[in-house]
């Protein structure tokens, strides 16, 4: 593994849904410890790109390299193994399971029954979940089934889930969309803490102030294509917003 390779590299990624061309020729590098803001108008392709990086969608074309080595046959399971955690915009939680089960879903803690049968360590998971939520300044009814939670509470579950695991890359697709004022601040702090400890973060958001508060780099997508890329300190909000809209105008 080359020492100075970016954590993640996308080359010429494209994605079609039937006739819809959601992404075209996306090149992207993500470096450990940076916070990359992925911006763009509605329908620009941000979530599609996020899902590809998370392994939830297969790209129609292009290649991905993680820490210098090509990834293929990629799915969310591999993404987890490689240290990629994702908060999806369309949360996708198991509504019929409780908070702790959702946080640990797919990576449950186990204990041994009769010394050899692996069974769920429910109590331990609930305890861990509670402390993880506390860290994030989130208060949730732990035993309630997620389907009975409010919109913001569900989002908090998804955030806690992604934050809990030791990751190399955390992808957050509009994590603060439905989130209360206090929790909003906690999430921004979380992002900064993650970056400080060397984790790469991809943040998708429509809240411009957040971008300038936490992001180190900005990529703007317009209609599935990369329209602008640069360091946060080198870009102004005006220029970014214009890129989102101008891209659109020049295309239309």
């Amino acid at each position: 593994m080359p020492e100075n390779a970016p954590l993640l590299e996308l080359r010429n990624i494209g994605k079609r849904f039937g006739a819809v061309h959601a992404l075209r020729g996306i090149d992207l590098q993500i470096i450990s410890g940076e916070v990359l803001a992925l911006l763009g108008d509605n329908g620009a392709g941000k979530s599609t790109l996020v899902k590809i990086i998370a392994g939830a969608h297969a790209p129609s074309s292009g290649e991905m390299f993680l820490a210098g080595s090509k990834v293929s046959l990629f799915d969310p399971r591999h993404a987890h193994d490689l240290g990629i955690e994702t908060i999806y915009q369309d949360l996708a939680v198991a509504e019929n399971l409780d908070v702790a089960s959702n946080i640990f879903l797919g990576r449950e803690r186990k204990s041994r029954m009769l010394g050899f049968l692996p069974i769920l360590a429910r109590r331990e998971m609930r305890r861990e979940a509670a402390s993880a939520l506390e860290h994030l300044a989130i208060e949730l009814p732990l035993r309630q089934v997620v389907g009975e939670l409010s919109g913001g509470q569900r989002q908090a579950v998804a955030i806690a889930r992604a934050a809990y695991w030791q990751a190399r890359l955390v992808i957050m697709d509009e994590p603060t969309a439905a989130i209360g004022v206090g929790e909003h601040e906690a999430i921004l702090k979380l992002i900064q803490n993650l970056a400080r400890s060397g984790v790469a973060v991809i943040l998708v958001t429509h809240t411009m102030p957040d971008v300038w508060q936490v992001a180190t780099r900005i990529v703007v997508l317009t209609r599935g294509e990369k329209a602008l890329e640069g360091k946060t300190e080198e870009l102004t909000e005006e220029r970014v917003v214009r890129a989102m809209l101008v891209g659109r105008e020049s295309d239309a």
Partner: protein
Amino acid sequence: MMPNELRHHPILQAIVDQGVLIAFVLLVVFLAFVAPHFVSTANAFSILIDAAPLVLLALCELVVMLVAGIDLAVGAIAGFTGAIAATMMLQGFPWPIATLLALLAAMLAGTLQGVIINYLRVTDFITTLAGLSIFSSLTLIITDGEPMNINANGFNALGEGHLLGVPTQIWIAAFIVLVVALWLGLTASGMHLYAIGGNRVAAYRAGIRVRRLRSFAYAFSGLSAGIAGVILAAQLATADPNAGRGQELPAIAAVVIGGVSLFGGRGSVWGAVLGALILSTILDGLVLLNISPFFTELVEGVVILLAVMMGHLRKRSSN
């Protein structure tokens, strides 16, 4: 009506949710009063013996319906398994080996269905409907359309024998029920079945091997159907060319009565068992009460409807 802490206790909650349990109790009490000889050991065993294969088929449906599937082939696979076991015994295999191989065939049949559904992406309904046709047909072909006698006493004891005074088949069904209860309640893969049924996309994104686990659910369904088939064959000392036919709807009915959802993610082993018990108790009561055969289905339909409605009223009033 109930203090909140109590109401949130998982076991109590489960009972309250299972308003159908109350319907079952009422049914039993009613029959105890009106049906001659209903309260007797012989009759209790008669109900349980009757329920045993149905419980096993209901477990098949429970597991596949948790992952939003359905298995219409359970009855056909049961008949198929009996026919294979009988053929092998006829060809001189010792009965335990014949039985194990037949169960293996049943599990393979289920696995095949699972693979077609999850990897070739034919819908659950179509695949298992085709399975129903195919395995029914294979049973006819294997038996050449004639009932096959089974002379292995050891095998037949699985259906006729007793252990500690209780018929063997009740033990077998109870054992499988216990295994499934532990699987669903205590293990990760059991919980993953619920997750898949609750939100398949979420389960996939959480790294659950959705297709593999769903295929496994069908493999289990095949196995459990096979065990039901062995019991049916042993009980009659015969592999009947039409054994298990038409059992798919009662099996699904049992679990749905017990609160399992056709849309996935909801249901319990206890519900499935309860549903099967309700169905076999109704059938038993119909015979004891000498309901005319023209009316049996009528009464059966009405009682099922009432039982489920009652379960539902309980649930609503507890809200």
